[in-house]
Symmetry: C2
Subunit: 254 residues, 2 copies
Amino acid sequence: MKKFVAIANQKGGVGKTTTAVNLAAALAAAERPVLLVDCDPQANATSGLGVDRDALQATTYELLLGGATLSDVVVEVGVPGLKLAPSHPRLVGAQLELADAEDREARLKFKLKEVTDQYDYVLIDTPPSLGLLTVNALVAAESVLLPIQCEYYALEGVGLLMETLALVRERLNPSLELDGVLLTMYDGRTNLSVQVAEEIRRYFGDAVFRTVIPRNVRLAEAPSFGLPVLLYDAASSGAQAYLALAQEVLGDGR
Amino acid sequence: MKKFVAIANQKGGVGKTTTAVNLAAALAAAERPVLLVDCDPQANATSGLGVDRDALQATTYELLLGGATLSDVVVEVGVPGLKLAPSHPRLVGAQLELADAEDREARLKFKLKEVTDQYDYVLIDTPPSLGLLTVNALVAAESVLLPIQCEYYALEGVGLLMETLALVRERLNPSLELDGVLLTMYDGRTNLSVQVAEEIRRYFGDAVFRTVIPRNVRLAEAPSFGLPVLLYDAASSGAQAYLALAQEVLGDGR
Ligand SMILES: Nc1ncnc2c1ncn2[C@@H]1O[C@H](COP(=O)(O)OP(=O)(O)OP(=O)(O)O)[C@@H](O)[C@H]1O
Ligand SMILES: Nc1ncnc2c1ncn2[C@@H]1O[C@H](COP(=O)(O)OP(=O)(O)OP(=O)(O)O)[C@@H](O)[C@H]1O
Ligand SMILES: [Mg+2]
Ligand SMILES: [Mg+2]
């Protein structure tokens, strides 16, 4: 895995935030310091790590639009080795407010230049759209990790997603690589999951991570406690899957 | 339920498209003619009803940007009483292409003026964002139906959603009403679902539909056959729930 990784898919609810939060925590648990950047106005990664978005002075909004530096924004989140650049719903305004700016697609990339060796990985969570915030993440990233839910509508969106990546590579970030495709919410008891997973493997081949994230209610419960699943229920199948994913990205030297 | 209804929630994957397709089919089955407008570039409602988006001359894109009229766009979908204004991924460009247009928020409303008595209901499916396409739907609509998944992150997004509705009401569509809040993907076996449902009822009171949509794999399978769940598996709990919802909106005279 590259150092700067965007977690993206314009299809909604496929497990982008769940992957961002839990992979970040699993990498930190493997003693690889991680910065998680929440680039979604929904600020789910922020609350999923127990941070009260309304109590913050500076967020990703101030980073992109307000002149804040990364060190103004970054907070601790009670997980050793993991820090967060939190978001806030006011980030919704970024698309319009940045519309006329010269460097509008490269704001995040510019601000992340401040990152030095204190982090081994920088993961960026994105909203379910192909707008300016997601483009900022794809320009700042060296590679992109694509969570794909094992269901029909998510499969359908893959074409649009790959076209967008190709466009970003052509015009804005020629070195953007595909880090891998992560199968999420997999339920081996349903034909649907099995068939969709097969289809995704046929389309992406080796780019699909060997680790598959099962549907596991513990992953959905953990955010209501403001905890990554590793700290909420380490023995759960969800936690074990994200630990395995961290090992896979570290071991393969992808 | 009003005649023109937007189905919206910026949180991704909460069941907007599943509700749009299956409520539309259930209303048509109750002999109330329905037009479903797919206003999402992902075009999931379009493929969920078996329409090949790449085989179409005119879609919502041409309606909003290309001078097509509604009758140029509308297609049959093999469900008596239900017609579709299909979408296509090229609609992604609408946000930028309409950015400078004078009437950019009211394009859809203007085009839907063509609707006469041939439809009792016009349902509009929207993407998971608060951008121009969703705003167009909220301006064209008389009321909005909010699907909310019974999970933590979906609950968190309610505040942002209500703020956006208030803004649209204040500036663009003063008569926009809340049609109701629909609990989706409810799984009574998990504490998470039960707790989130309680919280949503506490926040919204009577605005929550009595009908609750259960998590039911048949709802996720049906789109891969291009069918609403009523035609795929009418006896399933998912199909029964959307039939009950149709009865509730018709019976209450909401
Ligand atoms: N493997 C899983 N098993 C069970 N529930 C899951 C799993 N992964 C995610 N969830 C739950 O499914 C919902 C959608 O996941 P999540 O919010 O992470 O997706 P997302 O792609 O970030 O959504 P959005 O498009 O809105 O940003 C959440 O309620 C989350 O808790
Ligand atoms: N009640 C349900 N039970 C089981 N699966 C469901 C249910 N409702 C929706 N689904 C499935 O969950 C996924 C998300 O639903 P859907 O695509 O309708 O949500 P959406 O809000 O339209 O998503 P988006 O934000 O991307 O537009 C789909 O794969 C769908 O088939
Ligand atoms: Mg998310
Ligand atoms: Mg949808």
